[in-house]
Amino acid sequence: MNSLLERIIRLRWWILVFLAIIAFTIFAGDFRQDPTTAILAATLRHSTPLVLGALCGMICERSGVINIGIEGQMLMSAFVGFTVTAATSSLYLGVAAGLACGMLMGAALGGLTVSLQGDQIIAGTVLNIFALGLTSFLYTPGETIHSKTPRISVGPLADLPVVGKIFFSNQPLTYVSLLLVAVIWYALFKTTWGLRTRAIGEHPSAAETVGVSVAKMRYLNLIIGGGIAGLAGAYLSLEAVGSFERGMTNGKGFVALAVMIFGRWNPVGAWGAALLFGYTNAIQTQFQFRGWLTGHPQFIGMIPFIVTIVVLAGFVGRARPPAAIGQPYTRE
């Protein structure tokens, strides 16, 4: 009983933020059910690419490799996914192609940082510029796809008031992202893979002495991470927008990086951070509906970023990354 109370006291700021958000949502939704539900559902939608990108960054960084190429991985996969769907008119082939492209980009990052021992920040920047250049070079305007990934309702759960609309009536990749948060949290903290991953991120030479191949693990994890970023890219072109535009990631990969650090390299933390960011995006639409700040749309546009800075500086503070991050590993 005492420990529960202690927990509540320890998390008091978060509980306060959470309650403030709920209160504000109901107020912004004009005390009616439909707009309130709409805000929360939009929150989840907006958070999907960010949480996927953040999970990618997390798996890489937990294994000791900084990935600032998330933006490029997402953009390239958005392009490949869209192009494959446009050519085959199959959304699932498109998503699969996006996933594969992301994995390939992950392997490329592995090649640069693990095999060639290049600087990780530079390797990520190379991926970003390369993806922006190559997708713009290869993109032919005018290609279209006929539909976006369909909305799937989960049986009777979808009919529940409020919760049903928010969680059980979504497009496929949104479900996948929710599933991945849980799976990766479990895998990272409860399985051998997770233990090894964290070990090579904290103390690679110690992991190597007990028989874990740092190079192999890093490759594996960069490919898994890249695949998840690939899903984020496919989400953008095939699930959210339904087309490809030049540079359509528009900084989302970098925001995902911020979300990952914000969530302290923890899947559940990153999910919370992504939801907060998604919420501030969703509330913008409601501001427009209610006619608040209509003459000054730029201030509405600032909300997500200012809220993030305030929450970060006010409540989160310092976070400790994996210890061996940033350095190429060489066997002695």
Binding site: D119, I122, L134, S136, H296, Q298, A313, Q327
Partner: protein, 350 residues
């Protein structure tokens, strides 16, 4: 001899990148030879084109210096874009707002006000990091978006000339313009002077030593009596100052006013250039000229050889790749080792 040796690596990298790019151009059905001769012609043949290349190189030098300086202090400033934007806007406002001043006062005043705006914007993440431990990568990314919105608001509501349909500030006064001597823009010379100044500051002063110490090992620096908090804030402010100068020169020397969207991406190119120069302030100059030359002539290449201008981005990425990957470089120089810096070394330290 030493300079020659260190210049050889980037030259080989450029050649390799151009060869790989040639393959891509060939595959897309155009002639690489035609494309590259247009690329060279468009940036270096004739004084006028050479002047344009230098003009385009100017904000890139400043953006590169901003990122490189922060790296020296162990900070990753992704916020060059926002700092540059604020510099450009405030310089534009000061350029038209003050009237009746002589050039010798007005131009430097507008330039420095823009730089101060950049410095203030850059100092915010520094203060947040030093006092609250907020990671500068997050705050600088977020502040880029805030800056874009704030600048647009100021442009729309405060500084727009009544009756102007477009969102932009009025043209600056003639007395605030940064002139061009023949074809050599004065702005470029200012940027080169700043590169030399940053090199001097980092290598020859106590403050520069403190910045580098904090960058290499914050706890050791702190143990040696250096106030890391002070250095973190100052490093970010100076980094923002440099980016702000870049924006100011762009407004006062090239565009003549601030208009949202006209500086897009310049701040991010700074990251590429700082990495290409391995954070060496002097090496920032040729790196920026190289990238600018490709930007300046990409459209001529499209016109003459029918190659999409985005190929230059691919080539840039390849150059960076070849410059930065030690193993590839060691194929050419078996003995070249040491002095490798790790940009991510301070990723999480606060």
């Amino acid at each position: 001899m030493k300079i020659l040796r260190s210049a050889l690596v980037p030259i080989i990298a450029v050649v390799l990148a151009l060869l790989a790019g040639a393959l891509l151009i060939q595959l897309s059905g155009s002639s690489p030879l035609e494309a590259y001769s247009a690329l060279f012609e468009g940036s270096f043949v004739g004084w006028e084109r050479f002047g344009t290349t230098l003009e385009k190189a100017t904000p890139l030098i400043m953006g590169g210096l901003a990122v490189a300086f922060a790296f020296k202090g162990g900070l990753f400033n992704i916020g060059g874009q926002g700092q540059l934007l604020f510099g450009a806007l405030i310089a534009g406002a000061a350029g038209y707002g003050f009237t009746g001043l002589p050039w010798i006062i007005h131009m430097p005043l507008a330039l420095l006000l823009g730089a101060a705006a950049g410095a203030a914007w850059g100092a915010i993440p520094g203060v947040l990091k030093a006092t609250r431990g907020a990671h500068e990568v997050i705050t600088t990314i977020m502040l880029n978006f805030v800056a874009a919105n704030a600048a647009e608001w100021l442009c729309t509501k405060v500084w727009r000339k009544p009756g102007d349909i477009l969102v932009r500030t009025p043209m600056i006064e003639g007395s605030a313009e940064i002139p061009t001597f023949g074809n050599i823009p004065l702005g470029f010379l200012i940027a080169v002077a700043f590169a030399l100044g940053v090199w001097y500051l980092l290598q020859k002063t106590t403050f520069g030593f403190e910045v580098r110490s904090v960058g290499l090992n914050p706890s050791a620096a702190s143990y040696a009596g250096i106030s890391t908090k002070r250095i973190v804030i100052l490093t970010m402010a100076i980094s923002g100052f440099l980016a702000g100068i870049g924006g100011s020169i762009e407004t006062l020397g090239v565009l003549g006013r601030y208009e949202p969207g006209f500086n897009a991406g310049l701040g991010f190119d700074g990251i590429t250039i700082a990495l290409l120069a391995r954070t060496n302030p002097i090496a920032v100059i040729p790196s920026a000229v190289l990238i600018a030359s490709m930007d300046a002539s990409a459209s001529l290449m499209q016109f003459k050889a029918g190659v999409a201008p985005e190929i230059t981005d691919v080539i840039e990425a390849l150059i960076l790749l070849f410059v930065a990957t030690p193993i590839i470089v060691r194929w050419f120089f078996k003995s070249r080792q040491g002095e490798e810096i790790s940009f991510g070394a301070n990723w999480g330290s606060s």
